[in-house]
């Protein structure tokens, strides 16, 4: 603890969190989400998918974790938390220590009366009830918005990590293109993508990789035993993790020459996607990016082929801004945005494009080299 190998200036980061807590009136935070645990504690542990784990921070600098008894040695090597407490079930020589009771003990030890505690939206009902029982005098408030506001702007040390995970996405894309052929199943295609990325340092997948084959395109398509055929369109999504940072791209490939109508749709979506990327710079609003895309799609009569949003932020997890016609978020330097456009209508050939973009001082930089056009395999 405290000697963890990291390029992140975590002391400055923790100070920023504490400062923000003071401004927003939080005495403590109980952080349980995948992005926040990575950001505040340098730990991969998705509470929603695994076991009770949290970071407990105070506005006065307490920087602790509560982790399972069975995972403390690994986490000790990975986290920069100053203190780790463990919970455990009843064991023969060890009295039961409930997760929420240990969290409460940590908070009470700071001696704050009627503390205001920030909790995140992935807290289950059971955990929330247990915390209410353990800390009846506390006031619990959501802190998701505050944490997300911190995480959306990347620190200088985070940028190389985002570049690396973006490069893993490209490696996965190139492996998909190299290996894709009729007769291969969706799961096999994902296997080639994952194999290639692992060989270049990918440490896992923050959400499942996707592959969908057919004569039309579904938005979310988790790989099945379905087989790619000669007249198919294949849409795939790639989601590597590297040192707690997440990558996110998608591409659409056609195995047969597209008919003129489909080609036109794909080309218009490319033009619209490029247009919305072109407008990205500090100072514009999220809805301006959306408008740049939607205007071109609508001009060509494809307004009803689009989705409700065309992208999101990314970092240690899925983050705001959620780019839509209603989102007024002002784009700032060092945001990393995933532009995720689509031209899809049920039962028809369609395309989905997705690529990562860094907001720079005066504009933007694409972090990926994956194409934002329909790829014709042959």
């Amino acid at each position: 603890m405290g000697n963890v190998e990291t390029t992140i200036n975590y002391k400055a980061r923790l100070a920023r969190i504490a400062d923000r807590m003071k401004r927003e009136g939080f005495d403590f935070l109980i952080l349980t989400s995948l992005p926040s645990l990575a950001y505040a504690a340098n730990v991969y542990q998705s509470l929603a998918w695994y076991v009770n784990t949290c970071a407990v921070l105070s506005k006065d600098g307490m920087n602790s974790m509560v982790v399972p008894y069975s995972d403390v040695d690994r986490i000790s090597l990975e986290t920069w938390a100053d203190k780790i407490e463990t919970w455990n079930p009843q064991l023969r020589h060890l009295k039961e220590r409930k997760f929420e009771a240990v969290v409460a003990e940590l908070i009470r030890s700071e001696g704050v009366t009627r503390p205001v505690i920030g909790v995140e939206g992935n807290l289950t009902w059971t955990q929330h009830q247990n915390l209410l029982k353990e800390l009846p005098e506390a006031e619990f408030r959501p802190c998701d918005g505050m944490m997300q506001a911190l995480m959306v702007i990347k620190e200088p040390e985070e940028i190389p990590l985002m570049r690396k995970v973006a490069s893993l996405c490209d490696i996965g894309f190139e492996a998909a293109l190299k290996n894709m052929k009729p007769g291969m199943s969706e799961v096999q295609l994902c296997g080639e993508v994952e194999y290639a990325m692992r060989r270049h340092g990918c440490e896992g997948y923050w959400v499942p990789n996707q592959a969908g084959t057919g004569t039309s395109v579904l938005l979310d398509h988790y790989p099945t035993q379905a087989v790619i055929e000669e007249d198919h369109i294949v849409k795939f999504g790639i989601h590597p993790a590297y040192k707690l940072y997440r990558g996110d791209i998608a591409a659409t490939v056609t195995l047969k020459k597209p008919d003129p109508k489909f080609k036109h749709l794909a080309d218009v979506c490319t033009e619209a996607t490029q247009a919305c990327i072109d407008v990205i710079k500090p100072g514009i609003r999220s809805c301006d990016i959306d408008a740049a895309f939607r205007t071109i799609m609508e001009k060509h009569g494809y307004g009803d082929y689009t989705g409700w949003y065309i992208g999101h932020g990314i970092g240690t997890g899925h983050l705001p801004p959620f780019i839509s016609s209603e989102d007024q978020t002002v784009i700032e330097k060092n945001m990393v945005i995933v532009i995720n456009t689509m031209a899809v209508k049920k039962g028809q050939p369609g395309v989905v494009y997705e690529t990562m973009v860094l907001v720079t001082e005066n504009g933007h930089e694409r972090l990926n080299r994956n194409p934002i056009h329909l790829v014709e395999l042959n």
Partner: protein, 385 residues
Amino acid sequence: METAVYRERLNRLQAKMRERQVGIYVATRQATLSWLLGSFAPWRTAVAVPASGDPHAIIWRLDYERIKSETWMRHCRSWGDGDTFAEAVVDVIRELGGERDRIGLDLGSPVSQQVAPGLLLASEFAVLNEKLPEAHLDNAVPWTEEVLSIKDQDEIARLRKAAQIADIGMAAAMEALRPGVTENAVAGEVERAIRLAGSEWAWSGTQGTEVGSGLRTGFKRGVTQPATEKIIRAGEMVIVDLHTMYRLYLGDLAGNFYMGKNPPRAVAELAACWEETVAFLLNAMKPGERIADLVDRAFSIMEKHGMAEWGLRAFGHGLGTCARTPPYMVQGNQAELKANMVLALGTHLYNPEVGGMRLELPVLITESGAEPLSKWPSRLHLIDC
């Protein structure tokens, strides 16, 4: 045929609901969602099951068309067009006439402190509680676990296939293990092999396949080693823990390796203790055996070897559409094993100064004993290098 399988499951669930006077059960956790839907649902999804009649699926709008095309359910609706997930659930409960019913929710296991993926969130519960003031909201996890823990023949066939794929993955890991290779590269070989064999997802709470080498195998009590860029060297122990999914059913298999033909005495002693414990469990498990007794007897073998300090008094968990399911092979669990339960049998020994060994082995409880669904030999495998 597929629909008939799911109809039969539904009938079993609804019989249990009527027995417990539950009007509507709202499934949100992975275990019951996959079991009921027959489709992979990684985003917020629910199935509202009335005590009689057809279930209704509630699906996030970006995933709606896919799940609708894959599920056997006729009643599907999306959420996210101006309503939240919890509001959509409330609407469906009202459509089903359940405003005054006992509503079963996935709130949490009273036995396990582990978090099952998909449990109802505090914010979602608050919406249900506010908008359904006359309903009685209740925890459905204990009684749904009873239904899910006994597998039918279709489920056993899928679990068997998931275990076979896991064996292929472990063989690929063994083939890839050589000095100089990274943990991540071994994970890549595993993931490619299991995908080629039909695995749909390298499920895990640890981002995918676990590969730990050297002293990373020996974190005390340490059941988790996500693969890293660490280079594997001669003379090290290696744990590979891989996770397959076949038609929504999970495989969970760990393999143990030593990088060399002649492990040192401390490693050999660790392996001897571990292998004896595993052999005991495979021999002793059968219907009617009390889990607490099995756990105590297995742990006593570790004590006999003087290795209690390095062992976990936990020997596995259930396996099906999720791994956070009973039977929980933990100390004090008074439940008995029953025929057609399937579990990932576990045995954990972790000595920080020597290394660790882990068993994750899919096992079917038969009428007369325990049948490993994976054929991977439960021993320390020596890599010639």
